[in-house]
């Protein structure tokens, strides 16, 4: 059993520390991509598409954050099969 405090939210059990970890990872990844967008867009030579690519890159950042936090956080479910 983890030493971390567990909580039930929407029928799911989560750990506060793990949530904080996941939140920091995804938010930082998302905003990093948001603020890096102008540089990336410049490097690609598509400055006219900044606004559009900015959202796409941010969403991509969120997705990368999701993958990373899924890999390092254990789901708080015990699955039993009949």
């Amino acid at each position: 059993m983890p030493n971390d405090q567990l909580y039930e939210i929407f029928g799911e059990v989560i750990a506060s520390k793990d949530f904080l970890k996941a939140f920091l990872i995804t938010t930082i990844a998302t905003f990093l991509m948001y603020f890096a967008a102008p540089t990336i867009v410049k490097a690609l030579g598509k400055e006219d598409l900044l606004k559009a690519l900015r959202v796409t890159l941010s969403a991509l950042g969120a997705f990368v954050g999701f993958i990373i936090s899924s890999a390092i956080i254990e789901p708080k479910r015990i699955v039993e099969e009949e």
């Binding site: 405090q5 996941a22 606004k51 969120a62 956080i73 789901p75 479910r77 015990i78």
Partner: protein, 451 residues
């Protein structure tokens, strides 16, 4: 754009969204709007072609609504809000050892609901287009455009159908004032961040409770225990899964619901018609099997009809579905020079092209979802329960909401979203249908002008 290339891109997006949303649909506690709207909005705000985003969206709702009942059948845990009414029926099925049968019935019925909704709602939405023009002219004692009356009527109906009727009615004007007040602070008529704040509100509220010292009731000592029922190999032949009466009832109620959902709540319709069917049958098991199947058909039909009729015919979000998950299509976006994706869609493409692409992607999504879920529902459920942490999912949607709020109104946008989220959650947690809040957001300028 060449129709071949268009269909190819639509195929790619639909397959992608089906695969992604089968997984998300199975995760318990995922709210439909919170998981669909931010990504749809991100795609639209990025300037992707509205028809292609619509293809993505249709794949999403077909897969999501079919998949969210899978953990309900296998573990009595609803995959989402819409599957909650199916839990009691799943428990009855489990008692009699019918879990696998109810699983197959649900998946098959959701395909029926999808097909019926496309056949009825898609042509109807184009047929009703003249109505849309009429609804845009100002009329009546308040000199509102016609659609505003429909939305206000919808708000009142939804409020009266809420668990907390009086609170829901009381919420209308204060919430409209909150929306207009925030817009005044920002100095612009923002829509996106307020809309997203409502969708993410309930999750935000629960997460903030964790910081509060009064969070004891949420504390747990143990991991969640999930019991998966045994299943064997399931045949792909849909005729084996439903009897004639179930097919008939699923088709009829899906058809009716696909039209009613243009103005009415999908959850409300699922509960109402499902309960009617259950109560008409004396035998407990038969009634539950039938109600479970029909509810699955209604879920898909309401999502499709509730999207397409307002999107194509009316042009303004008149119901909880179009003001909720599908709302990004109605928002005025910079990526489209201040036009809504909906307007761009209708200007850019002819009626036959739109009909062809929507019918194609929806049926493709239904077929894919059916085959995947019938063949792999058990291993998929096991994968989702064992590998996807709720922490990661909630964080992802929060991050998307935060970044879009920041983009729209800077730091103030983030605080504004927290404020709207907390107030919406307070209403929603106390029994106000969240659809009321979505629709008040749309009608807010007109409502506040009355005061």
């Amino acid at each position: 754009m060449d129709i071949g290339i268009l269909l190819l891109q639509a195929t790619f997006l639909t397959v992608l969204s089906v695969l992604m949303y089968i997984i998300i649909g199975m995760i318990p506690g995922t709210d439909e709007t919170a998981t669909i709207a931010p990504i749809t909005l991100a795609l639209l705000a990025a300037g992707f072609d509205p028809l292609l985003v619509l293809a993505w969206f249709m794949g999403t709702i077909v897969a999501f609504k079919a998949a969210d009942a899978v953990p309900t059948a296998l573990a009595a845990i609803p995959g989402g809000v819409m599957a909650v009414p199916q839990v009691p029926d799943a428990l009855v099925a489990r008692k009699y050892g019918y879990s696998e049968i109810i699983l197959r019935k649900g998946i098959t019925a959701s395909v029926i609901g999808t097909v019926v909704a496309i056949v009825i709602a898609l042509p109807l939405s184009f047929y009703l287009t003249p109505l849309g023009d009429l609804l845009k002219t100002q009329m009546g004692p308040l000199n509102w455009p016609g659609w505003v009356y429909i939305i206000v009527a919808g708000i009142i109906v939804l409020a009266v159908m809420s668990k907390a009727k009086i609170l829901a009615l009381l919420a209308i004007f204060p919430f409209a004032m909150l929306v207009q007040g925030i817009r005044a602070v920002y100095g612009k008529p923002v829509f996106i961040s307020i809309f997203l704040a409502i969708t993410i509100g309930p999750i935000l509220y629960e997460l903030l409770t964790l910081i509060s010292p009064h969070n004891h009731h949420l504390k747990r000592d143990n991991y969640a225990r999930i019991k998966l029922v045994k299943t064997g190999k399931i045949t792909l032949n849909p005729l084996h899964h439903l009897d004639k009466l179930e097919v008939t009832l699923s088709s009829i109620f899906a058809g009716i619901s696909s039209i009613l959902s243009a103005f009415m709540s999908p959850v409300g319709l699922t509960i109402l018609f499902g309960d009617l069917i259950k109560e008409a049958e004396k035998d407990e098991l038969k009634g539950s099997l039938r109600a479970y199947a029909v509810r699955d058909a209604i879920k898909n039909a309401t999502y499709i009809g509730g999207t397409l009729i307002p999107l194509i015919a009316i042009g303004v979000p008149t119901g909880p579905m179009s003001a909720g998950p599908a709302a990004p299509f109605f928002a005025k976006l910079d990526a489209f020079n201040g036009l809504s994706p909906r307007d761009v869609l209708l200007q850019r493409y002819s009626t036959p092209t739109i009909m062809l692409v929507i019918a194609y992607v929806t049926l493709l999504a239904a077929l894919l979802t059916y085959v995947i879920l019938i063949k792999y529902s058990k291993p998929l459920t096991r994968f989702v329960f064992k590998k996807i942490p709720a922490e990661a999912l909630y964080s992802t949607f929060l991050a998307i909401v935060l970044v879009l709020s920041y983009m729209e109104a800077g730091i103030a946008g983030i605080f504004g979203s927290i404020l709207v989220g907390l107030i919406s959650a307070t209403f929603a947690r106390n029994g106000v249908s969240i659809g009321v809040l979505f629709m008040v957001l749309v009608a807010a300028p007109y409502l506040v002008a009355l005061l």
